[in-house]
């Protein structure tokens, strides 16, 4: 089996130690970083994504694969930067002001990183200004917001309104998710996109940044 196939297979098994080892082997063998990324890591994640959609595997398998992807990316990142290969994009992520729940947000973060995105995780109880200031400073085109409570859900409107007030809403898109939300409430809150689960969040970011 070729090294890149081994990386892909180890990633699909969620074996982060093996992904790390094979990625190192591939670098030592002189395989270009972009090939390791696209034909090894991303190829493996593509298979994982398809199997998840077909219900052949479940969320833990996807998250493990995403964690293995992160392991490989850690090894690869300096080389990619040196070679001038840019990350797929940046996403600012956080749980909105007043809300301390972060499980869903963390899952989205793992999945986005697994899909090759740079994630700037602001944690929980994030004020609207901080979401926007970070997105501007980091030149991130996407803000992802999470809320578990119906009482904190309106904080999302603070972010979307502030973005519009600053004239940034065409440059920076908002994706929202969380238990109390639906596509309709997301629209009422002024969000650009609603993600019902972590896999959908990745699909949406792919669409925004394609």
């Amino acid at each position: 089996m070729e090294l890149l196939d081994r990386i892909s297979a180890a990633l699909q098994q969620g074996n982060d130690a093996a992904v790390l080892q094979y990625t190192g082997n591939a670098i030592e063998a002189g395989i270009p970083a972009s090939d390791i990324l696209n034909r090894g890591l991303i190829a493996g994640m593509d298979v994982i994504g398809l199997k998840f959609k077909n219900q052949e595997i479940f969320l833990p398998d996807v998250l493990l694969a995403a964690r293995a992807m992160n392991a490989g990316m850690g090894e690869l990142k300096p080389l990619l930067m040196k070679a001038g290969v840019k990350a797929k994009g940046k996403v600012v992520l956080g749980t909105v002001a007043g809300d301390l729940h972060d499980i869903g947000k963390n899952l989205v973060g793992i999945m986005l990183k697994g899909a090759g995105y740079e994630v700037i995780d602001l944690g929980t109880d994030v004020p609207a200004e901080r979401f926007i200031d970070t997105a501007v400073t980091e030149d991130a085109p996407v803000i992802g917001m999470s809320a578990l409570l119906t009482t904190t859900m309106p904080s999302m409107r603070d972010v979307t309104a502030l973005l519009a007030g600053r004239g940034l809403n065409t440059r920076i898109k908002t994706v929202v998710g969380g238990a109390p939300l639906s596509a309709r409430t997301a629209a009422e809150l002024g969000a650009d996109y609603y993600a019902g689960d972590a896999a959908t969040a990745v699909d949406i970011v792919n669409t925004i940044l394609s």
Binding site: F58, I103, S182, A195
Partner: protein, 491 residues
Amino acid sequence: MQPILTFLSPELTDRIIAEGFTLLGETGVYIDSPGMQERLAGLGARVDSGSGRVRLPETLVERCLASAPSSFSLYDITGEETHRFGTGTVYYTPGSAALYITDEAGRRRPSTDDYIAYVTLTDTLENLASQSTAFVPADVPETISDSYRLFLSLLYGRKPVVTGTFSRGSLRIMKALQTAVRGSEAQLKLQPLCIFTCCPNTPLRWTEETIDTLVSCAGSLIPMEIISVPMCGLISPVTLTGTLIQHTAENISGIVMAQAVQPGTPLLYGCCAAVHDMRYSTTSMGSVESMMLSCGSAEIGRKLGLPTQAYITVSDAALPDIQAGVESGMGGMLAALTGISNISGPGMLDYLNSFSLEKLVMDNEICGMGLRARAGIQPRDDFPAAPLMAELFREKHLLLSEHTRAFLRDEHYFPGPVIDRRDTAARERDPALWSARARAEIERRRAAYAAPELPAGLRSRLYDLMSREAAANGLDALPVPLQRDWRHLPD
């Protein structure tokens, strides 16, 4: 611990069995076959040849019950073992012999194409261990409809077949088809492929036609399910206990006849109980009392040392609707928890008159839930609990825990798309009703169907046997082509 549901106390079970024995010894059973009367008389039964009434002494009954195997296996068309009845494992099988099918167009007589669609779908339904000759194609003469259903099941399906005969003489060709699959009668005895249903005519009567089938099957050690069909309040007592006594006597009389022909004949102790609904004069099988009778019957069969069967995952509803889901769900779950060996009925509607493929895929999910419940709650790596709780506090979730990954697939049953567990957003994106999801699932599964690989020439031999039978019954050409390439379905 494997859960076990009981409706009968040990004392009541013993009383019902004892009363059944008394009925057989004193009231007797009417047997419309002089040959069988003579055979039973030779074994000590008191026979009134004028009326056909045969009284079975307890010693004969005990001897015959003792010779019936407590367990036996079934094998699929490739010879792989699929069932071990009598070991505590439960299996589901589709309902049998409906005259109609119900689909989005309504209720109609089925065709060969409908039957092939059923067989190829059933082959993919992982919670149904066998197929049945589920409904009667109307595009062949009635005289060959029994054998033609079995022929199509063997031509396209992999799983063993629960079947039966309506037409006298059908069994000859049906045995020939089975023997062709196995290569010899001796091999068919070693690896049974089909179970034949044999039902007494309630109350306490066996017709000559059914006895012919019973004798022929027993002579070849072909497994049978002996299924008394009481109708509570009409042709059996209105009380459940009274009906179970009559049912016990009827079933045991069938067991005695089979064992009298060939000791060791494999049998399932079956039940197809209905309640006569006095409001409408209908025979309800979806009633809770029918389900209780089926479960109680299985408890009696188990006490007699036999693997069991019941027609219970069925519905009285005309359409595969909420009523159908409720009745089949209740029956399927009760049957699994009672430990009925062969649970019949998935797909069946309308007092067993009509079959629905949409319901079949829904019932497949019910069966999955039943099998999961039957497996019970087991201690896994759960003691001590503190390390896992520490991990939960540390990680805030257990999605990536070794514990989750080790036990997820064994602990949780994941139903297919007919059971909708999607989130609100997914439901808003695709608001398809269950029936549309069921139809899509039927298409998906049929597209995934792959015909089993069989020895060279076997399908041609089956085809030749069936063609000759059809010709002898006035049908020049079978409505199904003999394909060269069995990887694909006929157009």
